[in-house]
């Protein structure tokens, strides 16, 4: 059994307050979370049910023009420019007049882009010293998982974490979130974003969102464009698929009628549209995800799936996962909406506060150095049985 009440809240209050700061990629997020002290948390395994109250959840995205990705240096500059204003708004929205009331300040230590992570870490360190509030470094992936568990109340799900920088199938076992399968090259969101760049459509608000919108209007949904299907054991590979579909798109734009997949060899008539490519790419990639997720569920004998990360907002992915789960003994799919799927500060506060309640805080600022590589299974999950 786990005692989540081992560290009492400040000033003898009956609730905890945490500030969360996220800036590992192009989203900058600040959020404030409140946990009430609940007697049954002293001796239980209820970290997915903290009765968390979200006092504020504010986000600002560094937007690049369609056809361009975000670069670390420019993204870090965006975060530095906005983080103070965003934090002020988040504190005001939470009605927190005296910030030293906070029990803990949580920030993303990794994984992510070094420069943006660092810009937020500098801010977090300064606040911590200014207000004398302890710091907790949080693994970004664990943040997604804990927020998803709290929102959906899924107790022990297989987690599919799909975003612009990560693609992992995760299940909990013996105090670690273990990685069952993952991408061997690029992340799914990266694959979708880069295809979107080829199509010159924007990547707002989440990876693959505009591809999803185009795919809805695909005229030939009954005949999929055949793409490479690259599941390797429990892992995936997506760079080859991207290269292939990029090539098809370029042939389409240049009206290369020699391409027999896109144009009828006799009449030269176009058989496939951009929307069809988007649809086929989604179906193909998501089928791969569903396959490895199902295998992980069989391994750990679970019938719940939790989808987290920016690509997790995709309704088609949620549908496909749901139909797999229905076929498997009444399984359930849990997903959250864009407030929590897309990177945000609240999820960092949620995971960080759980860490804090188990007595895990920074004792030396050397522990706050950010890291681009920080695997999900490196974190010791003290707050679960």
């Amino acid at each position: 059994m786990v005692n989540l009440n081992s560290v009492p809240p400040k000033h003898g209050r009956n609730f905890y307050l945490a500030l969360g700061l996220e800036g590992s990629a192009n989203k900058l997020g600040v959020g404030v979370v409140k946990h009430p002290v609940l007697a049954h948390h002293a001796d239980s395994d209820l970290s997915h049910d903290c009765h968390a109250q979200i006092l504020s959840n504010i986000r600002d995205t560094y937007i690049t023009p369609p056809g361009e990705g975000f670069l670390p240096r420019d993204t870090a500059r965006h975060h530095r420019n906005w983080v103070v204003r965003l934090a002020r708004r988040a504190l005001d929205a939470a009605g927190l007049r005296d910030p030293s009331e906070l029990d803990v300040i949580c920030f993303t230590r990794g994984p992510g882009m070094g420069a943006p992570l660092h810009s937020v870490a500098v801010f977090a360190r300064t606040l911590s010293l200014l207000w004398r509030v302890p710091l907790v470094p949080v693994n970004h992936c664990v943040g997604h998982i804990e927020m998803g568990r709290e929102i959906t109340k899924a107790e022990n799900p297989v987690v599919l974490y799909v975003s612009g920088g990560n693609t992992q199938v995760i299940a909990y076992s013996e105090n670690r979130y273990r990685i069952f399968g993952e991408t061997l090259d690029i992340a799914i969101g990266n694959c979708l974003d880069r295809f979107a760049r080829t199509l010159r459509i924007p990547n707002e608000p989440s990876p693959g969102y505009n591809i999803e919108q185009l795919a809805k209007n695909a005229p030939h949904k009954d005949s999929l464009v055949e793409l490479p299907y690259t599941v390797k054991g429990m892992d995936l590979s997506m760079s080859g698929i991207l290269g292939y579909v990029d090539g098809l798109a370029k042939d389409l734009f240049s009206q290369n009628t020699k391409n027999k997949i896109l144009f009828d060899p006799q009449t030269g008539e176009q058989k496939v549209t951009v929307e069809d490519l988007c649809y086929s790419l989604q179906e193909n990639l998501f089928a791969m995800l569903v396959e490895i997720t199902e295998r992980a569920m069989a391994h750990v004998a679970s019938n719940q799936v939790l989808i987290v990360g920016g690509v997790g907002c995709n309704v088609r992915l949620q549908e496909m996962m749901a139909s797999m789960c229905r076929d498997r003994s009444n399984g359930q799919v849990h997903a959250t909406d864009e407030r929590f799927c897309i990177d945000n500060g609240v999820m960092i506060a949620q995971a960080g506060l759980l860490q804090y309640r188990m007595g895990n805080v920074v004792k030396d600022l050397a522990e706050t150095v950010v890291t681009q590589k920080f695997r999900t299974d490196e974190v010791y999950v003290a707050w679960r049985d």
């Binding site: 103070v84 660092h118 500098v122 300064t126 200014l130």
Partner: protein, 88 residues
């Protein structure tokens, strides 16, 4: 690993940034200190505080590395000052 260590870090710069009081200058030192230098054989930084000043001395192998290193530290200092201004 190169065995010939720290040959010539001949390009140097010394900066003093005044803060409102010594506590703020000490905060700045503590915030800046933990981050490791990517190429310690080419670039060195030393942070300290004297009265209400943040004192930084840079040493570098050439002027380009010096400029890049210094400007990145200055960006962080700007961020610290803005944070202190807003939330002190």
């Amino acid at each position: 690993m190169k065995s010939a260590r720290s040959p010539m870090l001949a390009h140097t710069l010394y900066l003093e940034v005044p803060f409102e009081d010594s506590t703020q200058a000490e905060i700045a030192v503590k915030v800046l200190e933990p981050d490791p230098i990517l190429r310690p054989e080419d670039f060195e930084v030393d942070y300290s505080s004297k009265d209400r000043n943040l004192c930084i001395s840079f040493k570098s192998i050439d002027d380009r590395v010096l400029r890049v290193g210094v400007s990145s530290v200055i960006e962080s200092i700007k961020s610290i000052i803005e944070t202190i201004d807003e939330f002190k």
